[in-house]
Symmetry: C2
Subunit: 268 residues, 2 copies
């Protein structure tokens, strides 16, 4: 059993403000076994800021902050995501830190958010970010943990790949919006959890008045039967949940989906 805290913090355009806010929120949930922050928690979902704020990992300011926080509170910490600078490229990168402050896993967003919904949202993330090329899963004493980011959740293949590599819980820093959120957020979170019989924690920012992107919020902890925990809507707050291997085993025994796959049929 492990206690999970998903911190739906307000994210402003100012990095130091965001780190201070994250520090306070993490301290308020000290005692949890795993704490997660939202997508782009140090800069907000405001594209003009990304090149300036991008940092190297694990050498940058934000990475050192995350390592310190994990070690200080002896907690597995999902460092939301941050703009990561690698040579001339910038990635949207999520990280997982051990309770000793070590970088255990990094996930560079594989599917960039390029959509054009008339009357809704238009966004072309690929103008600013390069896409990652890896499925991100790591075995830890807490459980086998996968990382994905936001738009990645629309692609069942990535979650299937994590499940087949043993993922028991997936953390998803994310920032759906007020167009796609009401339409598809709970649908995809619950769907990926059920079809792969795993736990899923999705952590969104709460909107900030100076940020034009309308973050949907609604952070959720979902169990492998698809039951959501979390009453938070768009306000600042947190969702607490429990990861239980016994529950995972029980659902997988009753609904053995991973072993019932027919890969020889699909021709994919």
């Amino acid at each position: 059993m492990a206690e999970i805290a998903l911190l739906q913090m307000i994210v402003s355009p100012r990095k130091e403000d965001n780190l201070a806010r994250a520090e306070a929120a993490i301290a308020a949930h000290a005692g949890a076994d795993l704490i997660a922050l939202p997508e782009l928690f140090n800069t907000s979902y405001q594209v003009s800021d990304w090149p300036a704020v991008a940092e190297a990992l694990p050498e940058g300011r934000t990475a050192r902050f995350l390592s310190d926080m994990a070690r200080r509170h002896k907690v597995y910490l999902v460092g939301g995501s941050v703009p990561e600078l690698v040579g001339g490229r910038v990635y949207n990168t999520a990280t997982l830190w051990s309770p000793e402050g070590s970088l255990l896993l990094r996930h560079r967003k594989v599917h960039l958010f390029d959509v054009d919904i008339p009357g809704g949202i238009t966004f072309k993330e690929s103008d600013f970010f390069s896409p990652g090329n890896e499925v991100s899963v790591v075995d830890t004493p807490l459980g086998t943990i996968g990382l994905a980011i936001c738009f990645d959740v629309r692609f069942p293949e990535l979650f299937r790949a994590m499940a087949l590599r043993g993922a028991e819980l997936v953390l998803l820093p994310a920032a759906f919006n007020t167009t796609t959120g009401p339409a598809h957020w709970d649908l995809h979170l619950r769907g990926r959890a059920v079809e792969n019989t795993l736990f899923l924690g999705a952590c969104s920012p709460a909107p900030h008045p100076e940020v034009s992107y309308p973050a949907w919020g609604h952070s959720r902890w979902i169990d492998p039967w698809g039951i959501p925990t979390g009453e938070v809507e768009r306000e600042e707050g947190a969702v607490r949940g429990t990861f239980s291997r016994d529950r995972l085993r029980a659902v997988r025994a009753s609904l053995p989906l991973l072993s019932a796959r027919r890969p020889e049929v699909y021709g994919l």
Copy 2:
């Protein structure tokens, strides 16, 4: 534009009663462009009846009935599914008939319903049926149509395979139950439609007092944005919906998920 009718008919253990009921329901929706019947519409979801009721396709009594109905009403007809006898094996097989009465497509259920949910439902369909081995899609003047059956909907790979072969609408004869229905029926129907940006029509039987299997009903027509049509619950009834290629193109243009896949990353 094509008018779709999903007939949530009561299915009894008596084949001739079921064919008569289907005949009346089809006649009541004459004028629709495509009509669908439920899973195992000629025999009910009562395993002891399956070996005796199984027929050859397209030579058997039920197949001839379906061909006649399609031709008589000049309609694309999804013949729900029936136990199909092939040599010594029995398959759970869905069919699609042209308005001229020709068999256009047959789908043998690929994923058999083997679950054991404590306090809920226990079922081992593979004791009675052999599994199919094909992804089932056919191009027609109405649209490119895929077929799948019930438990198949839990496997995103099969629906992805249909979408990549061009499926624009998928018909799903199905019979979820009162354990899995409230938990996962709408979730999976809407999820498969949205993640593949296609139309999905799911047609369930209504329960019959002599049949112990508690069919969930709740037949649904879902558009590619995930919006469901259909207010029917567990009672006998029908759901009418519209297939629109313009709507399909508009959703695919705004949310280009099929072209944003990263198959080189998944390693599946």
